[in-house]
C-alpha cells in the first residue's frame, strides 16, 4: 500500500473541512489525555509468530464455544489476504518488507476501538457506543440496519450479516467488553503465547511502547500506530517495517467526526438557524402579500 498523491489530497480535503468548521487542530501531536486510563491493547508485531491462537480464542468466546483448535493451526490461510467479517472478529495476516523480501511478518487485525469513532458519530440511533472504559460496543436491539457505520469506518471493520433476512446484526470486535466487566483480559490477549498482545491502560501502554522504541531503535519503527491516527485508537501497533507495507491504512492524525458534527451542530445551534429561516420566509410571504393587496386597492 503506497501513498498516492490522491490520498494526500484526500487528507488535504479534511484539512479544508477543519478550517470550514472553524476548528484549529489543537491536539495534533498530543494523544488525548482523557483516554489515558481507558483499556487498550498494544500489539508488538515483532514477537508475533502467527500461531493464530488469538483467532481461536476469539471464535470460542464470541461465536462457538466448541470451536476446534485444529481449524486454527493451518498456516496456509496466510496465502490469502483475509479481513475480519461477520464470522470472525479478528484475523492474522502475513505481510512482507520490500527491503527484505525473505523476511515474513504476521499481524492481527480487528476493530481499533477509536477514541472518537466515526461509526458512533454516524449511527442514526446510537446503537454504537464508545464506553469510557475504551471498548466500542454495539446494541443490536437499537440498530435499524442502515449500515452507515460500514460506510464511515476508516478501517473497514464493521461487518454485516447480509444473509440474515430478518435479524441481521453488525458484527465487530467488542474488546471483550463482557469479559472486562468480569475483571478478565480480552480472550485474544489471554491466549497469546508470546506476549505480542499486551493489555492495559492506554496511557501506560503508550509509555511502554515508547520505552520499547527507545531501548530497541533497530527493532522498531519510531511510530506507534494508533497513538495519533484518526485521533487515537485503543489498539496500538509496533512494527519493524513501515506501516505502509501492512494493511493498516494511512490516516490523518486528527479525528474526523468532530468536523462533521460541527457542521450539524452549527445548523441546529439551539434551533436558532432553522427558526430564523422560518421567520424570514414568513416575513417575505407577509410583505409580498401586503404589496399585492395594496396594488389591488390602487387599481
Amino acid at each position: 500500500m503506497k501513498i498516492k498523491r490522491r490520498d494526500f489530497v484526500r487528507l488535504a480535503g479534511t484539512g479544508c473541512l477543519t478550517l470550514l468548521a472553524g476548528d484549529v487542530i489543537a491536539k495534533e501531536g498530543v494523544g488525548p489525555s482523557e483516554w489515558e486510563n481507558a483499556y487498550g491493547v498494544l500489539v508488538d508485531t515483532t514477537v508475533c509468530v502467527g500461531c493464530r491462537q488469538c483467532e481461536w480464542a476469539c471464535k470460542k468466546t464470541n461465536f462457538d464455544p466448541n470451536a476446534d483448535k485444529a481449524d486454527f493451526e493451518d498456516k496456509s490461510v496466510f496465502k490469502k489476504h483475509r479481513r475480519p467479517d461477520e464470522l470472525s472478529y479478528t484475523v492474522v495476516n502475513e505481510y512482507h518488507d520490500p527491503a527484505k523480501p525473505e523476511a515474513v511478518y504476521t499481524m492481527k487485525v480487528q476493530c481499533m476501538h477509536c477514541n472518537e469513532p466515526a461509526c458512533v458519530s454516524g449511527c442514526i440511533v446510537g446503537a454504537l457506543e464508545k464506553t469510557k472504559d475504551g471498548p466500542v460496543i454495539y446494541d443490536a436491539w437499537k440498530c435499524i440496519g442502515c449500515r452507515y457505520c460500514i460506510v464511515a469506518c476508516p478501517f473497514q471493520i464493521p461487518a454485516y450479516e447480509y444473509d440474515n433476512a430478518l435479524t441481521p446484526q453488525i458484527r465487530k470486535c467488542t474488546l471483550c467488553f463482557n469479559r472486562l466487566k468480569e475483571g478478565k483480559k480480552p480472550a485474544c490477549v489471554e491466549a497469546c503465547p508470546t506476549e505480542a498482545l499486551i493489555f492495559g491502560a492506554r496511557g501506560k501502554l503508550l509509555g511502554l511502547a515508547h520505552s520499547k522504541i527507545k531501548t530497541h531503535p533497530d527493532r522498531y519503527k519510531n511510530h506507534i500506530y494508533g497513538e495519533h491516527e484518526i485521533g487515537g485508537t485503543s489498539w496500538l501497533y509496533l512494527t519493524t517495517v513501515d506501516f505502509k507495507n501492512t494493511e493498516l491504512p494511512e490516516l490523518p492524525s486528527y479525528s474526523i467526526p468532530p468536523k462533521t458534527e460541527k457542521i450539524q451542530h452549527g445548523i441546529f445551534k439551539w434551533f436558532i438557524p432553522p427558526i430564523a429561516f422560518y421567520g424570514l420566509l414568513g416575513l417575505i410571504m407577509y410583505s409580498k402579500e401586503n404589496n399585492k393587496n395594496k396594488q389591488k386597492v390602487e387599481k
Partner: protein, 413 residues
C-alpha cells in the same frame, strides 16, 4: 395568457400501451422486492462489508429526495414570493413531491436490514444529534407528513359534499363529510404554516444528504470530497426543482393529449440558468481552490464520470435554457430539463458510489439485476400512482372556465 386554466381530475383511459409496460415492470419489481424481504440483502444485492450502500441509497433515496425538490421550490416561488402566474404548476409539483418522498421512505425500508426498527429514529431516548443521517431521517419523516397535510385541501376540494360510499358502508358518509368540513374550516386556513415549514425542512435535509459522506474522507475521491458538499447538494436540488416540473408537465400533457403550458414553463425555466450558473461557479471554484483540478482530466473512471456530470448535466443545459429560442420551444425545454435532471442523478450516483472506494475491496460494486428491478419497479409504480392521482384529484390544469385571478384568490391560503 394562461388565464383560463383550472385544475380538474383528468378523464382518460388508465391502460395505454405505455402504462401497460410500466405495469409489467412494476409487477416484476415487486417480485424482486419480495425476494429481498424473504431472503435478505445478501442473496439479492451486491453489497459487501466494503460497499455498505448501493443503488437503493444512491438512486431510490438520494435521487428521490433531489428530484422531489420541485415541491418546495415551486411552493416557495408561488406562496412565499407570490409569483402567482406559476400557480398551475404547484399541484403537480406537490403531488410529485408527496409520491416521491413516499417512495424515498419505502426505498429506505427496503434497504434497512432491521426495517421494523425504523421507528427508533423517533424515540427521544435514541436521538443521535451528531449524525447527519439522523437529521436526514427526521426531516424526511416530518416533511413527508407536511406534504400529506398540504395535499389535504386538494382532497377536500374533490370530495366536499360528494362523499358517496357504496351502500354497505354508506353510514360512513356523514362521518367522513364531517371530518372534511373540519379540515376545510381549520386546516386549509393554516396551510401557509406548513408551506413555510416544508421549505425550511427541505433546505435542511437536502443539504444534510451532502454531509453524509464527509464522515469518510479517506474513502472518497477528492473531486467530490469537499467541505462545501452540503451547499452543493442544496443548490443542485434547488436547480433541479423547476426542470423536474417542466419535464413532468410536458410528459403529462403528451400522455393526456393536452396542450403544454409553454408560456408558463418557458417563463419558469428562466430561473434555472441562474441557479445552474451559481452551482457551476461553486463547483469549479471549489475544485480550483482545493487544487484538485488535475484529477478531472486524468482520464480515470472518476474523472470521466465527473466531466460527464459537469458538461452534460450543467454546462449544456445552462446554454440551452439561457437561449431564448430553445427555451421557448417544447423540444428545447424538454431537452434542457432532462439534462439537468440526469445531471443531478449522475451527481448523486457519483457522490455515493463512484467516488466511494473501500480500502480492501478489489471488485467494484455494480448492482445486481434484482437491485435494478426493485429500483425500476418503484419508479414505474410512482409514475402509475401519479396517473391514478391526477385522474382522481384536481391536480392538472386543463383549459376551462373561470378567471385565473379569481382562481388564485380561491386557492390562496
Amino acid at each position: 395568457m394562461n388565464s383560463h386554466e383550472i385544475p380538474v381530475p383528468i378523464k382518460a383511459k388508465f391502460f395505454t400501451p405505455g402504462t401497460t409496460i410500466l405495469f409489467a415492470i412494476m409487477v416484476v419489481g415487486f417480485i424482486a422486492l419480495a425476494f429481498r424481504f424473504l431472503f435478505g440483502l445478501g442473496p439479492v444485492t451486491n453489497l459487501t462489508n466494503g460497499y455498505g450502500w448501493g443503488i437503493w441509497i444512491a438512486i431510490d433515496v438520494s435521487c428521490g429526495v433531489a428530484l422531489a425538490a420541485g415541491g418546495f421550490t415551486t411552493a416557495a416561488l408561488v406562496y412565499i414570493f407570490h409569483k402567482e402566474k406559476y400557480h398551475l404548476v404547484i399541484r403537480p409539483a406537490l403531488l410529485t413531491a408527496m409520491l416521491g418522498y413516499t417512495f424515498v421512505a419505502i426505498g429506505v425500508v427496503t434497504d434497512l436490514g432491521r426495517y421494523y426498527n425504523i421507528w427508533h429514529v423517533m424515540l427521544p431516548s435514541m436521538w443521535q444529534g451528531n449524525s447527519a443521517l439522523f437529521e436526514v431521517g427526521m426531516c424526511v419523516m416530518t416533511y413527508l407528513t407536511v406534504l400529506y397535510i398540504e395535499f389535504i385541501p386538494i382532497a377536500v376540494e374533490r370530495f366536499k359534499g360528494k362523499v358517496n360510499l357504496p351502500s354497505l358502508i354508506s353510514f360512513l358518509n356523514k362521518i367522513i363529510e364531517f371530518f372534511i368540513n373540519i379540515a376545510d374550516k381549520t386546516l386549509c386556513r393554516v396551510t401557509f404554516l406548513f408551506i413555510i415549514a416544508g421549505v425550511v425542512l427541505s433546505c435542511l435535509h437536502q443539504s444534510s444528504l451532502g454531509t453524509l459522506m464527509l464522515l469518510t474522507p479517506t474513502k472518497m475521491h477528492p473531486l467530490w470530497y469537499t467541505p462545501i458538499s452540503p451547499l452543493l447538494f442544496l443548490v443542485s436540488a434547488i436547480a433541479v426543482g423547476f426542470p423536474m416540473v417542466i419535464f413532468e408537465s410536458i410528459l403529462a400533457s403528451r400522455s393526456f393529449k393536452l396542450k403544454p403550458e409553454l408560456d408558463v414553463l418557458s417563463s419558469i425555466a428562466r430561473y434555472t440558468p441562474f441557479i445552474l450558473g451559481f452551482y457551476l461557479a461553486l463547483k469549479v471554484g471549489d475544485i480550483c481552490i482545493r487544487e484538485v483540478l488535475p484529477y478531472a482530466f486524468d482520464l480515470s473512471t472518476e474523472s470521466i464520470f465527473f466531466l460527464i456530470e459537469l458538461i452534460f448535466g450543467v454546462v449544456i443545459p445552462l446554454i440551452i435554457l439561457s437561449t431564448k429560442k430553445y427555451r421557448n420551444s417544447v423540444g428545447g425545454l424538454f431537452t434542457g430539463a432532462i439534462l439537468v435532471i440526469l445531471g443531478v442523478v449522475l451527481n448523486r450516483i457519483n457522490f455515493f458510489l463512484v467516488a466511494y472506494q473501500p480500502l480492501y475491496q478489489e471488485k467494484a460494486y455494480f448492482p445486481t439485476i434484482w437491485e435494478m428491478l426493485v429500483t425500476a419497479g418503484f419508479i414505474c409504480t410512482l409514475v402509475l400512482l401519479y396517473r391514478v392521482f391526477v385522474m382522481i384529484f384536481p391536480v392538472v390544469s386543463v383549459p376551462g372556465k373561470g378567471d385565473a385571478e379569481q382562481l388564485v384568490e380561491m386557492k390562496n391560503v
